[in-house]
């Protein structure tokens, strides 16, 4: 399974350096000659888009830090007053960063569902997938702490609610929450540690992305057919996918640019334009859109489970479990066929799952009462049913369509091709 490394055509100083420190050989092999499947579709653009978004977030973030003041009495003014009004281009940097978080999650969620549809988590890509899940978790922590930094009233109460999740832990919960806060409420010590971690974690993500790519290039990219490809079915990453990624980036930047320039506050709750107020909880607390499905799961468990797990703990467990279940996915899905193109029944369940997550997100944006609560409970149950029951059974009972042996076969055999193209 080990890849053969190709020697780049180097001369002079570059050759001298590369013989001592093979970064050029490495870059050449990973970014230029890397053999990529020639049938990758546009859903495969989202990995590189995620990498670009991470870079944009880090670069804008580093410059924003040069203008931001991490103190409870000054943070709000330094963002809304100083950065937005006084710093040259400060409004642009902040809107790029704030909307960048939304764009980053949008891209990553599409990237994840791409993996779910085409079975990219299956052997030999289990570790690649699991590193990806770790990246999402660290992203969520980073995004949450970043949201607290402007110290608006939604920032404050989001920090209060999310840190209070840990109070559900039996026996030591309250102690842990006090430790997280560095006090008896969310206050300046909390803000300062969140600031420190919000700066640190993106670099942890960067290292994880490095591992993600290392694992990817070790086993090679999956492809829309989900079959193992031979050398003749692959083309060099450059120029074929560099140019395709550039085109995708252009389209993506139009969307990103639309939000930054024409709807910069579309994702920002109006309440966050008020400074943090420990005495006044906003009437309706909602997290950022990318947390809504998980928030709905948290609130769906409003009943004690089996008389031993109180509702509060149950909700927290369910919410964390909804992400952690993804770690087990490579083994929960028992089907040997990767791509949903050849799994007619799984394909339907995939789209039901997409719908289910959207429904959860919709419920998460509304108060947990009446219909919203009932629907959220059903959707939560279905979410876990999908991963824990449907997938293991489906792999055994589903009859997949015949798989092509190679990319050429469907073409050469004249008509035995998979239906969806």
């Amino acid at each position: 399974m080990n890849r053969e490394f190709v020697q780049p055509p180097l001369r002079g100083v570059a050759k001298w350096i590369d013989e001592r420190l093979p970064i050029l050989t490495w870059a050449y092999n990973e970014l230029v000659v890397y053999p990529a499947p020639k049938n990758l579709n546009y859903w495969w653009n989202f990995g590189s888009l995620a990498g670009i978004m991470l870079t944009i977030q880090i670069v804008t973030g580093i410059v924003l830090v040069m203008h931001y003041t991490p103190h409870a009495s000054m943070a709000f003014d330094s963002v809304e007053g100083y950065i937005m009004r006084d710093v040259n281009w400060g409004w642009l940097l902040r809107y790029l960063h704030a909307n960048g978080a939304s764009m980053f999650f949008a891209v990553v969620y599409i990237h994840i569902f791409r993996g779910l549809y085409y079975g990219s988590y299956k052997a030999p890509r289990e570790l690649l997938w699991m590193i990806g899940v770790v990246i999402v978790i660290v992203m969520m922590a980073t995004a949450f702490m970043g949201y607290v930094l402007p110290w608006g009233n939604m920032s404050y109460w989001a920090a209060t609610v999310i840190t209070n999740l840990f109070s559900a832990i039996p026996l030591v919960g309250e102690t842990i929450v006090t430790w997280l806060w560095g006090g008896f409420t969310v206050a300046n010590p909390t803000l300062q540690r969140f600031f420190s971690l919000h700066y640190l974690l993106p670099f942890v993500i960067f290292a994880l992305v490095f591992l993600h790519i290392l694992a990817l290039h070790q086993v090679g990219s999956n492809n829309p057919l989900g079959i193992d490809l031979t050398k003749k079915d692959k083309i060099p990453f450059h120029p074929y996918y560099t140019i395709k990624d550039m085109f995708g980036l252009g389209v993506f930047l139009l969307v990103y640019g639309f939000f930054v320039f024409f709807a910069p506050n579309a994702f920002i709750e109006p309440v966050n334009f008020e400074p943090a107020n420990p005495l006044q909880t906003p009437a309706h607390i909602v997290p950022e859109w990318y947390f809504l499905p998980f928030y709905a799961i948290l609130r769906a468990i409003n009943f004690d489970i089996l008389w031993i797990i109180p509702a509060k703990l149950g909700g927290v467990i369910a919410m964390f479990a909804s992400i952690f279940v993804l770690f087990l996915l490579p083994w929960l899905d028992t089907s040997p066929v990767r791509s949903a193109r050849f799994r007619p029944i799984y394909r339907q369940f995939f789209w039901i799952l997409v719908l289910d997550v959207l429904v959860l997100g919709y419920c998460g944006a509304h108060p947990p009462e009446g219909w919203y609560l009932t629907v959220a409970q059903i959707a939560t149950a279905y979410y876990f049913l999908h991963f824990l029951v449907i997938l293991p059974i489906l792999g055994k009972v589903e009859r997949p369509l015949p798989l092509p042996k190679s990319l050429d076969e469907p073409v050469l055999a004249g008509g035995a091709a998979p239906s969806s193209r």
Binding site: V63, M66, G90
Partner: protein, 181 residues
Amino acid sequence: MAQTSSHGGAGEGTRRDFLELVSWATLGVGTLVALWPFVDSLNPSMEVLATASTELDLEPIQEGQRVTIMWRGKPVFVAHRTQQEIEAARQVRLDELRDPEPDEERAPRPEWLIVVGICTHLGCVPLGNRTGEPRGEWGGWFCPCHGSHYDTAGRIRKGPAPRNLEVPPYTFQTDTLVRIG
């Protein structure tokens, strides 16, 4: 960019060469434009620029007295010079000076000398603005860091500093009110 690549004959560009060139040029210019907000955000902000000038009432400053005020975060020396100090500064022959500048240019109103109190050598604040501090061999200012002596017009006379103490831009709003910056 006269060079064209291998797609065409010698000195002849193809459509593809043209497209490639335009693409790279667009990318390059686009990148530079996108970089500008990041670079410019590090320039002084509106808040900093709003405090870029400062006003000083000269009324209470006695003849012979020197005061230090802050302007753009820097010390500015305002000296109400005595007649002897003015004469000392104006009698010097310019070719004796390392950085020749007539006193008339440095102090259009001879009784008021206004200079930035930062040594032009390596940025220390020279002594001599407070009573009792050493004023150097020419009765102006003396930088304790590396021994630069300035005269009563703030001009460098001895020591490693290359230039005279900088005269900030200022205007007299009235006879007793000066606006620096």
